[in-house]
Each structure stands twice: as structure tokens, then as C-alpha cells.
Symmetry: C2
Subunit: 339 residues, 2 copies
DNA sequence: TTGTATGCGTTATCAG
DNA sequence: CTGATAACGCATACAA
């Protein structure tokens, strides 16, 4: 029977070639690279030399197939254009990269259906674990996770059902900033909301509950738009708000972009901030500290969320249960000139 | 000899399981999924049913190993925090995803050494092709590409050495905006530059050449800082510029962020724009259209660059040569109120 | 500490 | 149009 040699991928250098060059067996090369302490220093050197000389690069596909571990983690986020998630990604990478894991980044564009498609597509890579944004996902989502026995950590929010999550209470944060505005003597506090994703709606719920408790809840002070937020939209919403309710004396914006756009429009219109109108944002992005007036907002531990979520996932992928199934990293009110 | 069953990855459903359930052979399943027209409609249906019933997800690792094609493209960009590259990524994905390719995104943080490390790391995935930002890379970079016979397309700029590239002339764009400022009667035109990557330096070169030709080049009108750009930095640089050269009558900022920060500072200081000081940016990001005053800038075809670069790469990965090795997508001056 | 035999899930090759 | 077989590159189990 004749051999059937096929086209080789990559540069064509395999572990066998390295082994031959180093005068050892293939498995010794494998160990020298993956568990160096199990190989004698002498052979380790010879292998390393051969690797360098031949320019050998291990094949992740072959490794994954043989070991049933892809050393890959799927990270699903709603947007790449939002600094919040970029910071989270940076935190994740700072933990996963040194541990030898690579990230597959999926951008769902704030769409549950797209998120499900992304999961389906990326499952072909057999990721060892999953980092998710938010708690609610499309119906078949959790079923898929279970079927594939995929460890998952939920980021940005806190669940009550035993799922492993790292975040803070969006609702409590919304309530806290609203209480602050109340403490400043404001009584007709409005809400500007864009995107209207899960987290924005929870901040809104916190706002509503706090005002209701004070007997000050007024649905006509809420301006909601499901389209993506932007500074431009903040400016437009401010116009709409002041037109509809000139007596409004404070605004809680669901994020800093909206708030900064609103602030800029106030400047143009000559609306006194915070005297006539106080403005608060959410997230504490960089411009919040130097816009005029500086912006009162809620600082969120997004990078740390990435770090701790990645650590918890590493734990679960090693077979262990997470130390704590639910990590509350809290938030911090940043009180500045706009309130 | 006893069998040695191992742990299975994923949900454990393999192509063989599907084949058994459908009453066909494994290879027929493979064909039904990848080359449907080569399988009779009847069997195709049976296979599809079995796939759905079992929740089968093909293994990319096994496929890559057997076919020597990973259906994966490595995209290396200098930053994820810059809208320019996010737009490019979106353009790329719009072409690669429908073609069945997945992107591996590497963020080099504007660092050639990191970029090289990323290439090394991602080569383990045996990408079928490469999309690169800019023309100059670390020394061993091109050697690695050749060794691995990796087709590559260079984005954002134009090369003269036969490399396949899709972009526009950064130098010519810098010259064009400078000529525009000259045409407005400005004579002491300054340059604010941050990051100082390859492309910023080319814009600077275009600026210098144009002014030199007019006999107006003055090195003391250049303010350069290698750290990452931001609106804050734009504001700070404006302060420095006006302090050192109060007679400066125009500023070409190497990007919109810097320009918008400078513009904001002008507002605060009461500097009349464009009368006393004209300001121009680069890229035409969203805020450029609605900041006060609106910003004169250079619109860059970044999304289209992604689209065409991806198309060219698909071509090369199919074995063909690119239609044109060098695609100049040009740029457009957006003349607004700030000049 | 090092080596041998074998299996991971898929596709290329070639035969029917 | 369909199927049997071998091969892809590496890691596990076990033996030496």
C-alpha cells in the first residue's frame, strides 16, 4: 500500500522534526516544552536549540485535539466601542495570557440573538470556558452551555441563582446616585436612558424605587431611547427634556457619554449647572474628570471585574469550584461640580 | 490489547455519531455539511436531521488538522480604543464572516515588539492569512511571514515594494490639509502630534514638505509627544503651543481627539476660532461634525479599507494573486467652521 | 527520566 | 454519488 503524504500546514516543521534534530523522541520534545521540570536540563537545552534552529511553532489544533483542551476562552461582550468593555477585556487578558490561555472575542452588538449565533460559531473552537456580560441571554443559551459542560462566569452584575458572577448591583448603584441628587435638594429628578440594555434598565429600576419611596416618582420625567448612546444623543435628549419639562431640576444619565453631551448642550444654552439643573452620569470615564463642569458619576470597577472573573474561570476550568460563586466588587460615587 | 478511551471534548457528539444516526458514513456527513451539492438531497436531509437532533457542532481543530486550513485570519491592529480601527474591523468582519472565516484579533498597543510576540503566539493557530496595520514591523516579522508562507495584506498606507496594500497616502493627506490652511491665509501653521506612530510621522512629513515649499517651515511650531493621544492631551498641548508661540495662527492636529481637546480649550480661553487660530484634525470621527465650532478634518475610508483588504486577502488565500497589489482609496477634506 | 503505542475528530485520496 | 482507509500533529497511558 502506497503512502499518502498530504500538504502540511504552517512552515511544515513538526514536533517529530524537532525530535529528530535533537536526537530524542517526540514525546520528550512535548514535555520539554510543556512540563520542563520533567526533562533533564541537558535534553531540555538540546530541544530548545532544535526548536530555535528549525523555527518550530507548535500546532494548537493538534494539541487541542489530542488533549481535549483548547486553552482558549470565549469572551462575549455587547460592544467594542464602549470603553467600559475594553477595560474589562484588558483586565481579563492580564490574567488569561500569563496562564497560557487565548481569548476569542465575540461582539454581540447588544443583541441576544447575535450573541447566541456567536456562541454557536465559537463552540467549533471548543473553548474551555466562557466569560459573559450580563445575566439574561437567549433561551437556548444556557441549554447549550450545559450540553457542552462549559464553565461560565457572568460579569458586570450579580445573580441570585447560584451562577458564578463578578460585578456589582446595578440597581443599587442607580439608587445611590438618585439619593445623592435628592440630598442636594433636587425634587424633579429626570432620567435619560439610551440602549436600554439589561443594566440600564436596572439602574432605572433603582432610580424609580428611590424616587417612589420619597414620593417623588414621575414617569413623565423619563426619556428613554433604545438606540445606541452617544454624546450627540445626550445633547438631543437634553433639548427634549427641557422642552417638555422646563421645571426639571436634575438629570441622572444612564452613562457618561449621554451626560457629557447633555452638559455640553447646557453650556451652549446657558443653563446653570448644577444650580438650575444638576447632572449625573455613570461609569466615570476619563472625560468626566475634565469636562466643564466636571461630572458627578458612578465609578465602576470594570477592569477589576475582568481580572476577578478571569481568575474565577481559571479556577473552574481547573476543576475546582469558584471560591465564591458571587463576587460583589461594589461601586463608588464620584461627587464633582455638576451636582 | 485493551482500548484506551479518552475524555472527549465538547458535548462528545462527533461526526461518526451523526453518521450512525443518519445511517450513512462519516465522510458523507462531512460532505453534506461542507459541499452540499455533492450529496443527494435525500441524504442531505437525513444528515441535517441527525445534526439537529444530536446538537452536533463540528470541531474546528480536527478540521484544521485534517485539511491544513484553519479558516482563520489574524488581524493585527495597534489599538482597540481608537474608533478608526474598530471601523476597520467591522469592515473586515463584514467580508470574512460570510466567507466562513473567523478573525483572531491581536492588539499590539502601538508596539512593534509586542506585535511580533502576538504573531508568534497566534501562529500556533495556523491562520490562513494576515491583515496588518501599517508597513513597518519588527525585523524578524517579514521573515516569519515568508517561512510560514502566509499571505498578508497591509492596511492604512501605501507601499512601493510590491507588497499588497490597501489604504491611502498619509503623507499626501497631511500635505493636503496643510495646503488648505495656507489657502486660508495662515502663515504660522503649527503641528500637534501624539503617539508618533508611522502614520502620524508621515502626516508630519507631508506638513513639513508643504510648508518648506512655501518657505514657511518652522520647526519651533511643532509639538510632539509620543504618549497616546487624548482630548486632555490636546487641551494641554494647546496651552503649551500658545504659551511658546502666541503668534501661531493655525494648528494641524494629527487626529481628531487632539483637535477636539484643543478646540475645547480655545473655547475656555476665549481664543477666536478660526479667526485668530484655525484648527484642523484628522479622521473625521463623529464628534467632528457637532463640536463647537465644527471641525475641519480629513475623512479617511477606514471601513472600506477593511472591506477591500479582506477581499484581497480572500483572493490570495484562494491561491490567486490580488487583482491589484496596491489599492489607493484616497481621502477627503472636510472643510468646516474651525478653519 | 525517557520511549512506545495509540487515539483525538476530521478530511484527502482513491476505489466502487 | 458514496464509502473505506490513512493521515494530519500532538498528548495520554503505560512500560522500561
Amino acid at each position: 500500500m502506497s503512502r499518502k503524504p498530504r500538504i502540511r500546514s504552517g512552515s511544515g516543521v513538526t514536533m517529530h522534526d524537532v525530535a529528530k534534530a535533537a536526537g530524542v523522541s517526540a514525546i520528550t520534545v512535548s514535555r520539554a516544552l510543556n512540563q520542563p521540570q520533567q526533562v533533564s536540563p541537558h535534553l531540555r537545552d538540546k530541544v530548545q536549540q532544535a526548536v530555535d534552529a528549525l523555527g518550530y511553532v507548535p500546532s494548537r489544533s493538534a494539541s487541542a485535539l489530542a488533549s481535549a483542551r483548547s486553552r482558549t476562552v470565549l469572551v462575549l461582550i455587547p460592544s467594542l466601542g464602549n470603553t467600559v468593555f475594553l477595560d474589562t477585556l484588558a483586565g481579563i487578558e492580564s490574567i488569561l495570557a500569563p496562564a497560557g490561555y487565548q481569548m476569542l472575542i465575540g461582539n454581540s452588538h447588544y443583541d441576544a440573538e447575535q450573541e447566541l449565533q456567536l456562541l454557536r460559531a465559537y463552540l467549533q473552537h471548543r473553548p474551555d470556558g466562557l466569560l459573559l456580560t450580563g445575566l439574561s441571554h437567549a433561551a437556548p443559551f444556557d441549554a447549550l452551555l450545559r450540553q457542552h459542560a462549559l464553565p461560565a462566569v457572568y460579569m458586570m452584575d450579580l445573580a441570585d441563582d447560584g451562577r458564578c458572577c463578578v460585578g456589582f448591583s446595578q440597581e443599587e448603584a442607580g439608587a445611590a446616585i438618585t439619593r445623592h441628587l435628592l440630598s442636594r435638594g433636587k425634587r424633579r429628578i429626570g432620567f435619560l436612558g439610551a440602549q436600554l440594555d439589561e443594566r440600564v434598565l436596572k439602574r432605572l429600576a433603582g432610580y424609580r424605587a428611590t424616587l417612589a419611596e420619597a414620593g417623588l416618582h414621575d414617569p413623565s420625567l423619563e426619556w428613554l431611547d433604545p438606540s445606541p448612546s452617544s454624546m450627540q444623543m445626550g445633547a438631543d435628549m437634553l433639548d427634549a427634556a427641557l422642552r417638555a419639562r422646563p421645571d426639571c431640576d436634575a438629570l441622572f444619565c444612564c452613562n457618561d457619554d449621554l451626560a457629557i453631551g447633555a452638559l455640553a448642550r447646557c453650556q451652549q444654552l446657558g443653563v446653570a449647572v448644577p444650580q438650575r439643573l444638576a447632572v449625573a452620569g455613570f461609569n466615570d470615564l476619563q472625560p468626566a474628570t475634565w469636562c466643564i463642569p466636571s461630572l458627578t458619576t458612578v465609578a465602576t470597577p470594570r477592569r477589576e471585574i475582568g481580572v476577578q472573573a478571569a481568575r474565577a474561570l481559571l479556577n473552574m476550568m481547573d476543576g475546582g469550584m469558584p471560591d465564591a460563586p458571587r463576587v460583589d466588587l461594589g461601586f463608588e460615587l464620584m461627587l464633582r461640580r455638576s451636582s
